[in-house]
Symmetry: C2
Subunit: 213 residues, 2 copies
């Protein structure tokens, strides 16, 4: 029997994180090296522990999973990541793989699939399930939004009017309208409300959360 695969679990929800650790520690060839509850802590823990595989959630406070993966990989290019999340927006998937994740799994998947993915990624292979690949394909066909358009879109989702967005970005309302127009056509919708919903579904932007916890 070879040495176990050492895992770093990064997940902000305590109950889920500890449940995950309890679950994984049941596998004979897997060992929990440590855990973190946000992207920053993940970076620190990675430096300390040098895990074989890092299981990473997206959407965490302070620093999200994508930024965390990017940062760690710039320092440790050989680092291997599996994204494990509930979000299946094509943009989330794209950004995570772009950042260097080797696998993208949903929490709804079978535990066996997760274990298989851990072993595959540890062995240097990538693993993207068909359902995820399909989502990703959607994104490939879609048109990219520019940085400015995303900025405007974020404010649309925040419920701001064009005039407010203009003041916020220090540009004229006419310019805002022009950005709105182009992003509407890129998203394939014809009003801002629909644009907001599509942006949330695709994971281009996320709902501002007012968490107490």
């Amino acid at each position: 029997m070879s040495t176990p695969i050492r895992i770093l679990v990064v997940e902000d929800h305590n109950v889920v994180r500890q449940g995950l650790m309890a679950l994984l520690s049941g596998a004979p060839d897997i060992e929990i090296a440590g855990s973190a509850s946000d992207g920053h802590e993940a970076i620190e823990k990675f430096r300390q522990l040098s895990p074989d595989v890092t299981l990473m959630d997206l959407q965490m406070p302070r620093m999200g999973g994508v930024d965390s993966i990017s940062t760690i990989r710039s320092e440790f290019p050989q680092a291997r990541f599996i994204v494990l999340t509930t979000f299946d927006g094509d943009e989330d998937i794209y950004r995570a793989l772009q950042a260097g994740a080797k696998a993208y799994l949903l929490k709804g998947m079978e535990v066996d699939e997760l274990l298989t993915a851990i072993r595959a990624v540890h062995a240097g292979r990538a693993l993207v399930p068909p359902s995820i690949a399909e989502k990703l394909a959607q994104r490939v066909g879609a048109q990219e939004l520019t940085a400015r358009e995303i900025g405007v879109l974020e404010r649309i989702v925040a419920g701001r009017a064009n005039k407010e967005i203009a003041m916020d970005l220090n540009i004229s309302e006419a310019t805002v309208k022009s950005h709105v127009n182009s992003l509407l056509s890129k998203l394939g919708v014809d009003d801002r409300t629909h644009a907001a919903v599509v942006a949330l579904q695709r994971g281009i932007v996320h709902l501002p959360q007012s968490k107490p916890e």
Copy 2:
């Protein structure tokens, strides 16, 4: 030592559900009676197993947690439920407690808190953490939307125009506008896009999800 508390775990994400079960089975006074992955299955399992406490997620396919709790309680009024979810919208909390949940916890809470809640609820007490109580208080102060207004709001979130909503509901556009007007003022916003966002944040409606899984 008394008999263990028998738990039914209802959660649609396999990885989380099995993690949760692994986690809870570590507690000496707790026993996993069974599990379900949606509201319908929860009803069946409850009838079969008569668990002491049911741990229930909201937002599941087929039938959500609230409806499931309502149905089970109409059949077994003494059934005890703990809602364990990531959603902290005041409307979610309100509806769950309304349906008869005895505790409402977030997945981000400490595992100890979860165990404490299970024991409390099993002992017949209710347990709502301060952060949740605070959220709930917000909802008490807020104005209730009528059924029709919620119907309109759902369609606003779906990105439909007033004209479409009117056709959809078989009413005139003028009437839709009138509903929109009243719901805007009740939600304290001044345009439909903002209304959509607030509705999502508060949990009055949820994003239509295009899950592959």
